[in-house]
């Protein structure tokens, strides 16, 4: 396909996280693709299906165990995947620096990724990556449309004050919010096909980056639990409690 008619390549970084639906007893929990990254993958697939992109490359930084989530991404329909082999506890800035090296190697026109990893809840990597590359960014996006022969994209952003629309020049970084789409389920044929798709493994050394995380977690603890409250039997009783006991009315 000639340039202008479609985006040649979309890069989708994704992270493997503990299943957020597993509930509090998370010790036994399995890993899944970070939900916001699943939305990013889905969006890239829809763009390709509309004939607006040619290739979707997924990338994840992690130990060999994340290959399971890579297979899931391939089964959803991405064309190929890169795992950057690094088992360290990386902070968002380290992740962004590694991803920059991969972006420079792959030269995508668009990077679509989650706004937030639901394990560390940092909400940093996309914006940092955009800053490192000097690329435009549109964060917390709930709608993407390409404009003018794919030289720009119009993005709707979910902000604290409501929706905002911006146009960004490509290449650019887009981070996803929940309303962008609903990710598809992995199909059986998708899984079969995924087995034959390539997973490339690279080290930071091969990419020519040396990063050392600058953030260290010293300890973790459980937050103080709220004391269990009381049941009331009626609207009258509730009103009485709010007035006399809680004194909020």
């Amino acid at each position: 396909m000639t340039q202008g008619q479609s985006v040649e390549k979309i890069l989708v970084p994704f992270k493997s996280v503990p299943d957020p639906y597993a509930g509090a007893a998370a010790s036994t929990s399995k890993s899944v693709i970070n939900p916001f990254d699943e939305i990013a993958i889905e969006e890239a697939l829809q763009i390709r299906e509309r004939g607006e992109a040619t290739e979707i490359v997924g990338v994840t930084i992690g130990a060999p165990a994340v290959d399971e989530q890579i297979r899931a991404a391939l089964a959803m329909g991405i064309d190929r995947a890169v795992r950057i082999d690094d088992a360290r506890a990386l902070d968002p800035y380290a992740v962004a620096r590694i991803l920059r090296a991969l972006v420079e190697k792959e030269s995508p026109q668009v990077v679509i990724m989650g706004k937030q990893a639901v394990d560390d809840d940092s909400n940093q990597v996309g914006q940092m990556l955009a800053g490192l590359l000097g690329w435009p960014q549109a964060t917390f996006v709930s709608k993407i449309e390409f404009l003018e022969n794919k030289t720009r994209a119009r993005c709707t952003r979910e902000t604290d004050g409501g929706l905002e629309i911006v146009a960004i020049n490509l290449p650019a970084i887009i981070t996803t919010d929940l309303r962008l789409n609903e990710p598809r389920y992995v199909s059986l044929p998708g899984l079969m096909k995924a087995r034959r798709k390539p997973i490339e493994t690279l080290t930071c050394e091969q990419l020519g980056v040396t990063v050392r995380p600058m953030t260290t977690t010293l300890s973790t603890s459980s937050p103080t639990r709220r004391a269990a409250g009381t049941r009331v039997g009626s609207v009258e009783e509730l009103m009485a409690k709010l007035k006399q006991e809680a004194k909020v009315l």
Binding site: V118, D121, Q127, D160, R179, T216, T220, P223, R226
Partner: protein, 320 residues
Amino acid sequence: MVETLVLIEHDRRQVKRPSLHAITLAQQLGGEYALLVLGHGLDEIAASLVSYGAAAVIVADDPALAEPLADRYATVIAEVARKRGTKTLLGTSSTFSKDVLPRAAALLDAPMVTDVLAIEEMDGSIAYRRPINAGSMLATVKVEGDRRVLTARATAFEAPAANVAVCPTERFLFDAASLPNGVQFISREQRASERPDLTESRVVVSGGRPLRDPETFERLVGGLADALGGAVGATRAAVDAGMAPNDYQIGQTGKVVAPELYIALGISGAIQHLAGIKDSRIIVAINKDPDAPIFQIATYGLVGDLHQIVPQLIESIRRG
């Protein structure tokens, strides 16, 4: 040199009150701090900031900054931080700060800590406490290097007191023509609301999936909020279903609130939602399922059908 630079947020008319809470964290960190505000036509906004104990209010006022575009804002913020020898660049957790500050951190080659709840002294250096995994755990982290970027959770820090001393206002001059130009602002949804801001309100009433449609949501959740003079919030399920706009979403990936009174109508109590309401003083839950997890954290729980209970409650409040 100002050790700490606090990014202040505004909506063109006035300062966003929660962004002032980051000043309290700056005070806890110690040393001199300056407030930084960017935009266009900022005289009144800057004037409202002079009595918060800062060494200066630094104003970057230019037509090129009229809209909060991340590429431009981050460039200017990083330039101010560099010129002032800032060690800590700080803002309040909000979509504005989360858009702009990580980008500024990358330009400053600095690590960043999101959603700081508290600081601790550890072997002579400072460690930051923050929630992870939808607030189900707290992590204590430290950072290396001589610069760092933080966002403070507004609900974890008090509003700073204004004092009598007035600090100088300084205009930060920069070359607007050399700013990045890769993002163009097109439009912003204008939705006038008489109700108080969700993150500042004393009372918040939220609705979940069983509110069904925008009309029912507005009648019951909006109606109860209005009877109490409160703000309206929603779960992800309610926003996804189109019952409420996206900026009503409360939780791990939405807004965090800590009002005096939080009323949850037809909300199951998923950890992703609880992450945004746990620090409310009083939580009331109305849910037809006696085993709904929300009852484990509610101060007062009432089991029943919200479609019957809420009109009664509104009526009872109106009677006084």
